[in-house]
Amino acid sequence: MLVQQLANGIFLGAVYALFAIGYTLIFGVLDILNLAHAAIFMLAAFIALSLAAAGLPLFAAIAIAIVAAGLLGILLDRVAFAPLRRRNAGPLVPLISSIGAAIIMQGIARGIWGPEEQRFAASALTTAEFHIGALTVGALDLIVLGIALAFMAALSYVVRSTALGRSIRAVASDRVAAAFLGVDLERTIALTFFIASALGGAAGILIGLQYNSVSIDMGSRIELKGLAIIILGGMGSVTGAVIGAFILGAVETLSVAFISSSYRDAIAFGVMFLILVFRPTGLLGKRALRAA
């Protein structure tokens, strides 16, 4: 039983990690808490759903939706954050701007797809299961985990070994110095938003597939949990976000099994609150963006 719950925790944690990475990446690079991240998470799931329903093969629908999410991220930056950068607004203004953008996105989604919960066509999803000893693992879960890990590995590679990654780290470290040294700020920021939003969108699609449920409020459910994860991991640390996500995934699934499920969410926020009070930099703090 314990092993089964741990496995479930890993599946959950992987998707949480994809979401949290995008959240923390934007904060690490731009010092912005982007509350529209969850809206893109939700929109990507709907886009994938609609594309699949229109007849595209599932993998194509997913791929296109992920790219769409990335582009939405760039658009979000252009509309809601870039103007604020130009006029040097204070640090809390982008937060409120992101809320405005999120509300607009939710409104558009509700208008297009309606408030009802929607599902992928049953034929698109595989219900195959594997039994490994005492473990029961769905083929779908494995695919989701595989995609999530692949994305994380790709991100790690980009940040560590490419020129773009170096630019991102430079901007995160010191924006002004990076500009002096010739880094194209706006291009780097746009690409950061693309990556972060694509990952967040991927998380939305994968969670939508895993639970076969896509609804307008799926973003708000994960948004606050995402906050707890990035605080736990350390705002700005991608590795921290991943670790925090798996910890939360494990704690959530284990606590449902062993403690009352009704207080489950409170655990995440309680831990987050304690960390903010006693160790605001979390597990790995902001400097760790360099070591993704």
Binding site: S97, I99, I103, I104, M105, F273, L276
Partner: protein, 274 residues
């Protein structure tokens, strides 16, 4: 005139309560603290006043006072651990507090759990709501003319400089947090007594966002601004009925527009004209 009121009394009451809530947030924002716990304080007071009225037969004034005091007490306790936090971290900590409060409310038997608490006497009428609003507004205006208000503004503008001239920044921030909580508490009690039914979901993050939007649109550091913002944002969904499911877009667009083009809110726009 009378028939207009009769047809829209629920909306008018809602505007009043939202104005009180926006006012309560503006108190903290005036000190530069993005403390996003108003919805939680509203909820705590709402439940306290509802329980008091139903179990002990308190009248509206007693229940509201009890609610405000309860909210203020919780705020004072909360201010201790989060006193050192600034900016985004303070915002997140208060959001977390709000979630914890909501989850506790869902789980407590005595408050009816997730199904909510019903049977609250419906004794908050438009007069009591707007009377409270006027009272709070007047008190804030009077305080605005004291040295404390200057200390608050100084804390907002430059905390280190304020400390440098001897202002007790921690005390200022704690006071504004508690004061804001008390006002939110009054609003919460009125809310509970205006709708005879409350649920934990009424006091979660969506409500907090709603209050923040009203405050920002109106102008964060102005009482009149907060009230106007609440007026606009409460009435807006009714005005854009024709957008059907797309209604929210108007709310987001106004918020974004204000942030991008008129960061001082409606109050800021007015000041620029004169």
């Amino acid at each position: 005139m009378i028939s207009f009121y009769a047809a829209h009394s629920k909306l008018i009451d809602e505007i009043g309560i939202n104005a009180l809530l926006a006012l309560s947030l503006s108190i903290s924002l005036r000190a530069g603290s993005l403390a996003l716990a108003q919805a939680a304080f509203m909820g705590i007071a709402g439940y306290v006043s509802a329980l008091g009225a139903v179990r002990y037969g308190w009248n509206l004034a007693e229940a509201a006072l009890a609610g405000a005091l309860a909210a203020g007490a919780v705020a004072a306790l909360l201010a201790l651990p989060i006193g050192r936090l600034r900016g985004v971290f303070l915002a997140i900590a208060t959001i977390g507090f709000g979630e914890i409060a909501r989850i506790i409310e869902i789980n407590l038997k005595v408050t009816g759990g997730a199904e909510g608490f019903s049977g609250i006497p419906n004794d908050a009428n438009t007069l009591s709501i707007y009377g409270t609003l006027a009272l709070v507004g007047t008190v804030l205006w009077l305080i605005g003319r004291t040295k404390f208000a200057l200390a608050v503004a100084a804390t907002r503008e430059d905390e280190n400089a304020a400390r440098g001239v001897g202002i007790n920044v921690s005390a200022v921030r704690m006071t504004t947090l508690v004061a804001g909580a008390c006002v939110a508490g009054l609003a919460g009690a009125l809310y509970a007594h205006a709708n005879f039914f409350i649920t934990p979901g009424d006091f979660g993050f969506p409500r907090m966002e709603q209050i923040l939007v009203a405050c920002v649109v109106g102008g964060v550091t102005s009482s009149i601004g907060a009230a106007l913002g609440a007026l606009l944002m409460t009435v807006l969904p009714e005005l854009v009925r024709f957008l059907h499911d797309y209604r929210e877009v108007s709310t987001g667009a106004i918020l974004l527009g204000i942030i991008l083009f008129a960061p001082g809110g409606i109050a800021g726009l007015w000041q620029r004209r004169t």
